[in-house]
Symmetry: C2
Subunit: 271 residues, 2 copies
């Protein structure tokens, strides 16, 4: 039966997932749109709940997915267009959304390999920046993100959307700085910080294997005690009036520098 | 006299500037926050109007600026905290904003030099992306941005904020594709497109002087007729599940590749 009431209890529960506190309590998050929901399927993940708005959903693949999951025992809610719009985060909702379980990994259970490329973020505030960093991390074959301090929520709808699905495939960790340091020492990971005051050019460093790139918050960057924990600190040269880059841009430049060096080394190896 | 009414006609005019159509009609735009307003002063620009909320403005520099501009004949509006919050785009407004004239440049009047580095954007939709691209363009000493097709407004408050002030110092052009092509041919500018389908690696190309980097929209990228107009098309390698990067990240990677090549050539030249 189609849900047509905006105050239906299930719909109210779903709408609450736009709020960080409610996400934390439930361990769930909200995913919207064909592209992201297809990615859920392609990764072999099962949603907690699927929401479809028949008046909006024109994609055959979307209908087939809802059908398939319904037969697997996943709760499928059919809702009216106005109900869907009341929970949607996009202006032009495609009529397909899923509720997914959050997947936080614990550092204690993570063992690193030589090919690892992590990014640690200290108190990053903007969910769009966090999602964009996840998207770039995926593009360079990175391993995951370690969130330190007072970071925004990777399961915020804006972060999920900006990640273009990388939220599902990359390892997501939240840890204290001390836990993180103990883990990276135990696993012999190199920690490379970034600071606009560092003397070393980000292109001059030969980045080691088993690497964590470390970026500070939009407002403050890395603080003295963060920088002290790094094996190296690099800066990205700038010659304009602005004295900083967007944090997702800065992270992407350093991640791509690591990736480009690894690509070139790999080419040398196979020659 | 302090404006305390939310429906004061001047305040209503200012609030309208959050709307693109009203910005187009008036030729003005809204700038908020100490950092951006200080940049206006440092560039020697004069605001059309300055707005201060004495209950919010704690910065001495902010007060001094308002005072200085007031003596130069700039209209300074003192408003109550609630009035300021009603026009503010930030959650934690600092109590200082300015109304500025838009500065669109005309291609007819732009002559290029060898050091020029432009970025042309086709139908980019997200103002945050556009502002972030301007910020990176400034960092690499770029010249300006040429907006083609159905682009978002660089004077959107989100774009202005993301540009971190680059909106004031970079050249901003809007043109048809034909006008743009005629200009770049007349000025012997090389046009380098980007596409995830291109075979040339963005790091393999030696980027020429007098250069325009050409990026497509978030959804579609560059279309066939855009790519045909390019001297070269490059792609950024990716090895993850996502098949694309955020457009501001992709633009930043290519802009930095050009900048890094120019830096290295410059080092060679002065040796």
């Amino acid at each position: 039966m189609m849900i047509t009431s905006l105050s239906n209890p299930k719909i109210k529960e779903i709408r609450k997932l736009h709020d960080r506190k409610e996400r934390r309590n439930s361990g769930l998050f909200y995913v919207e749109g064909l592209r992201l929901v297809i990615e859920v399927d392609q990764l072999g993940l099962l949603p907690h709940t699927v929401i479809i708005a028949p008046e909006l959903l024109t994609s055959r693949q979307g209908w087939e997915l809802a059908d398939k999951w319904g037969r697997s025992g996943v709760t499928v809610l059919e809702v009216s267009e106005s109900v869907f719009r009341s929970i949607a985060v996009r202006d032009d909702p495609a009529g397909l959304a899923a509720i997914m379980p959050q997947q936080w990994a614990s550092l204690d259970l993570i063992h690193t390999s030589d090919a690892d490329l992590w990014i640690a973020l200290e108190s990053i505030a903007d969910p769009g920046n966090l999602g964009t960093i996840l998207r770039t991390l995926d593009a360079v074959g990175g391993t995951g993100v370690i969130l330190l301090g007072n970071c925004t929520d990777p399961y915020d709808p804006t972060a999920v959307r900006a990640s273009m699905g990388s939220i599902f495939s990359k390892t997501i960790v939240s840890a204290s700085f001390d836990e993180f340091l103990a883990w990276k020492n135990r696993n012999n990971c190199a920690l490379i910080g970034t600071s606009d005051k560092a003397e070393a050019d980000y292109q001059a460093l030969r980045y080691p294997n088993k690497l964590v790139i470390f970026m500070g918050s939009e407002r403050m960057g890395l603080q003295a005690h963060h920088l002290q924990a790094c094996e190296q600190v690099v800066s990205i040269p700038m010659s304009g009036r602005c004295d900083s880059l967007n944090v997702a841009v800065a992270a992407s430049l350093v991640l791509y520098e690591v990736y480009n060096q690894r690509r070139k080394n790999h080419k040398k190896d196979i020659r």
